[in-house]
Amino acid sequence: MNPTDSKTNPGQVNRRQFLRDGGRATAVASLGGLLGMVLGRSQAEGYVWQIDPSKCVYCGNCATHCVLEQSAVKCVHAYAMCGYCQLCTGYFEPEPNALNTGAENCQCPTAAIQRTYVEDPYYEYTIDEDLCIGCAKCVDGCTRFGNGSLFLQIRHDRCVNCNECAISKVCAGDAFVRVPASQPYLLKTQH
């Protein structure tokens, strides 16, 4: 084709024009899509999912039913409620051989709880959220025997805020609730 054909024939489009127009169209479409997404999300951004700790029955479904590869549900720790126990039932198996960090004595399946000596006989327990899978085994032990300072929350730096949370559909305690995005956590503060 003669490159001057488009000048002589206004109905025809050369490759450069085609690419330029195509690029513009793509940009407009992308912008439109982005705008649509922002508008769509802005309606949902008013509320996010959260776990009501007073309803949670530590069924374990949070670890296995989140759409993410590693659940967005994590164990969190209300330090003000914690007894800093030497024998923490959130950390140790019900009948440990010894009160040390041996894997056979610890109940967390991913070793996500760190135990740090404070002073005799007190120890501090810290959750490593990168390792925590939200199985709630520690929550069960802490709540049964102790003060219930360990509990589950959806971490919003990970949660993708699905319209219908997959865990909420199988939550045994019906503990999943929608909360204002401005106050996204339901924290325990007292017994």
């Binding site: 007073s54 309803k55 069924c59 374990g60 009948e95 006989p121 520690c138 069960d140």
Partner: protein
């Protein structure tokens, strides 16, 4: 090829549908069980500790009665054979059959109450001891020192009132007017006293006829025996979910002394009442978790309030019968020693 092989009559269709429905009906619950089993792989399993081996049972149940008010916290038995039960903002005076005889009112939640030989009743709120005359009129009261005062038990020894303060982790010794005479059980390296470890408000004190005070030290999983002057004479106990130890993070939560000096202990989490000899040797079980089904569910996921709302308290009469207050079921269960055949 048989043309009828792929043809499905209406009768066949209905029959196969019915068969499919039956198979589906049988399979669905099984699949559901599988899903449940998969979910429960993270369970904190203490089921094996909830059954008491009958060879350890030393007592038989001998009746029960409900507490006059819910949310009861402590029980004691007075000189006239009456129970003093602290519940809500009242002290309920109850006869041995469970009939309410009188009610004493406080301005705050009643944590515990005891009665003296002189007919006076001593009750405690979180940070105050209140003394009532026999007729129910308030005689005097005093504040328990310390910013974190949380009185969880009272005892009377001669002219001393002992108040177990979970918040300040000490047993206060007052005279009958409320003047501080001493502090028992505080951490003291020179006297080789390690101090109380009390993660939740369950510090108890009980005098024995040998003059020694039995005090639970729940964070250290043991019972400690002190003189009235505050010397630590003896301690015993070990952490274990097994029948001979104290389970969980912080047990025992209450103690009582039998007339012969042996000790009765109460636990939460796995609600158990047990007997220990003078030297701390495990002797047997008064009542296991089977006797307190509601209490055993506390914090277990079937009743997800935390363990601080569960628990038991016990008191003992002159015949060695044990009266156990179930804080969850709001009832008193009576246990009598088994007769030896």
């Amino acid at each position: 090829m048989n043309p009828h092989a792929t043809f499905l009559s209406r009768r066949h269709f209905l029959r196969r549908s019915a068969e499919a429905a039956v198979i589906g009906g049988v399979a669905a619950p099984l699949l559901g069980q599988g899903a449940e089993a998969a979910a429960s792989r993270f369970a904190y399993d203490v089921e094996r500790f909830t059954k008491t081996d009958p060879q350890w049972l030393r007592y038989d149940p001998d009746g029960r009665f409900p507490t006059p008010r819910p949310q009861a916290k402590r029980i004691s038995i007075g000189p006239g054979g009456r129970f003093y039960i602290a519940a809500q903002d009242k002290v309920c005076v109850v006869d041995l059959a469970g009939t309410l005889e009188a009610t004493l009112s406080l301005n705050d939640v009643a944590r515990c109450a005891i009665a003296g030989e002189d007919g006076l009743v001593y009750a405690a709120t979180r940070n105050r001891v209140v003394v009532f005359e026999a007729g129910g009129r308030e005689k005097l009261s005093w504040e328990v020192p310390g910013p974190k005062a949380w009185v969880s038990a009272l005892a009377l020894v001669g002219d001393s009132v002992l108040a177990a303060d979970s918040g300040n982790r000490v047993i206060w010794r007052f005279d009958l007017s409320g003047k501080v005479l001493g502090r028992i059980g505080e951490k003291d390296q020179e006297r080789e006293i390690p101090g109380f470890v009390v993660p939740s408000p369950y510090l108890d004190v009980e005098p024995g006829k040998d003059g020694l005070l039995r005090v639970n030290n729940p964070g250290r999983h043991r019972v400690e025996l002190y003189t009235l002057e505050g010397d630590l004479e003896l301690f015993w106990g070990k952490a274990s979910a097994g029948v001979g130890g104290f389970c969980g993070c912080c047990n025992p939560i209450a103690v009582a002394a039998l007339p012969d000096g042996r000790c009765i202990t109460c636990e939460k989490g796995l609600p158990r009442v047990k007997i220990f000899a003078l030297d701390g040797a495990f002797e047997g079980v008064v009542a296991g978790p089977e006797s307190f089904p509601q209490n055993a569910r506390i914090g277990s996921g079937r009743n997800p309030v935390d363990g601080t709302l569960g628990g038991l308290d016990a008191t003992v009469d002159a015949r060695g019968r044990v009266y156990v207050l179930d804080l969850v079921a709001s009832e008193v269960q009576i246990f009598k020693p088994k007769t030896v055949s």
